[in-house]
């Protein structure tokens, strides 16, 4: 039965943790950006999509837009390029947030892959449309690597919510 796949009930999320996770993925993105490798995944996109699925009322399109603008400035890209791709990602996260979590994690990955591809394509098309050259084929690897990060995101970003509420020697959960 599909219900049996659900995990134990989660603790409420801390808004601070959401903020910290977004900030840390922004910093990771900055570090990865320094290496100039094209295939390196966009951690912030994964993080925005993750919270868009799990906490759609806290992390929505406005957050995605602002974080996208920051990334645009940091990468010195065209202003609005990442903002648009994150907003679209966040929209699709919202549109499927009630459905996605009923599936096991592998099927979740299969379902979210098209959205990461779409968000990468938006970024690419904006740049090609404004007269830049194609940066190279490794760019097309990014959505796949981002999808592979999904189980990892599930493991790390939900960890604080999986903690025991008030642990006790006789009542570990």
């Amino acid at each position: 039965m599909i219900m049996s796949r659900r995990e134990a009930l989660l603790l409420p999320v801390s808004p601070w943790f959401i903020g910290m996770s977004l900030f840390i993925s922004l910093v990771i993105n900055m570090l990865l950006g320094l290496s100039q490798a094209l295939w390196l995944p966009d951690f912030l996109a994964v993080c925005i999509f993750f919270w868009g699925i799990h906490q759609p009322r806290r992390v929505g399109m406005a957050t995605a837009f602002i974080l996208g603008l920051w990334i645009d400035v940091l990468y010195s890209a065209l202003l609005g390029q990442h903002a648009l791709s994150y907003v679209v990602l966040s929209y699709f996260a919202f549109s499927m947030h009630r459905r996605l979590l009923w599936f096991p994690i592998k099927e979740q990955m299969l379902q979210i892959l098209p959205f990461f591809i779409l968000s990468e394509l938006i970024s690419l098309l904006i740049r090609l449309g404004t007269g830049d050259d194609f940066p190279g084929w490794p760019v097309l690897l990014r959505p796949f690597i981002e999808t592979l990060l999904w189980p990892l995101a599930n493991l790390i970003l939900l960890a604080p919510q999986r903690r025991a509420h008030d642990p006790d020697a006789n009542r570990p959960i």
Partner: protein
């Protein structure tokens, strides 16, 4: 246990805000407006500068581990290697000192000749050193970020050179940093002079077989150009002082079906080094003085 400790509380049905589609359309339109205005108009400049200043402390923090690592690396560098470097540097200084003495004499001679002919003399250009912080992460263009900005009076459009030759031009100035667009960026052009033939032309950045190169534009297929020719700045743009080394021609492709030759040159700037020199852009008034005869 508190009532709200369960995650699956029923959603509050009131005050859910705008419909997602409305929000999507609004933010998409806003993004596209920003894309357009960033490309065509100027009013996104303060927004970009403001956001970049806000992120500055984080950026500084992110750069620290790398700096520390390279400092540690430099500390543990072999003494032998250091001595070798020193010897090489001394040798280089010696060679250059001979040359610079000649240059001094040539300069005086040149000045006298120019005075005799009634020409204006070349001016020495004010400059300041800067350190390269990192390459811009955006894969679509070729820029570097240096550690001098508005506070150090870096001007927009200043030429940037290093030990090898011209690196590029300052295209964005922030409070503490600025961005230099390399000559190998496809949007960057520089007027050059073929030092062998004296022919003037203009370059733009290009990528050849994955390597960033400089392409010489609009040179007739019959023009006198050879592989190995040295390109220097011609100085007619009023930005770059004349006589700086730019590139060396590495490949010429002449085809019958197009009237222009495809000429590629490899940039002489070493780009890998940590230090660069920012020159004051020659203003329109002394651009005339800077012209070679």
């Amino acid at each position: 246990m508190a009532l709200d400790s369960l995650d699956r509380t029923p959603p509050p049905f009131f005050r859910v805000g705008f419909a997602p589609l409305t929000k999507l359309i609004f933010f998409s339109a806003l993004s596209l407006l920003l894309v357009f205005s960033d490309k065509q108009l100027q009013f996104t400049k303060p927004l970009r500068a403001g956001l970049s200043t806000l992120i500055l402390p984080v950026q500084w923090l992110v750069l620290q581990p790398g700096e520390a690592l390279s400092a540690v690396g430099a500390y543990f560098q072999n003494l032998d290697q250091a001595q070798k470097n020193l010897k090489a540097a001394e040798l280089k200084v010696l060679q250059q000192s001979v040359r610079s003495q000649q240059v001094e004499q040539l300069q005086i001679e040149n000045q006298n000749l120019r005075q005799l002919m009634g020409l204006h003399s070349n001016l020495a250009v004010a400059s300041q050193t800067a350190e390269v912080l990192f390459d811009v992460p955006d894969p679509y263009n070729q820029r570097i970020v240096i550690d001098r900005g508005q506070l150090k009076n870096v001007e927009l459009g200043s030429p940037v050179i290093d030990a090898g030759g011209v690196v590029g031009q300052v295209t964005r100035v922030y409070l503490l940093t600025s961005e230099v667009t390399l000559l190998t960026d496809r949007a960057q052009s520089i007027p050059v002079l073929n030092s062998r033939t004296g022919a003037r032309s203009i370059t733009s950045g290009d990528v050849l077989a994955g390597l960033p190169m400089i392409e010489l534009k609009f040179v007739p297929a019959s023009a006198d150009v050879e592989v190995g020719d040295l390109l220097t700045t011609s100085g007619i743009d009023g930005v770059y002082p004349p006589g700086l080394q730019v590139a060396r021609i590495s490949q010429i492709e002449r085809r019958v079906d197009i009237s222009f030759a495809r000429i590629h040159a490899s940039p002489l700037a070493e780009l890998k080094g940590r230090h660069v020199l920012i020159l004051q852009p020659s203003t329109a008034s002394n651009a005339n003085k800077g012209n070679p005869p």
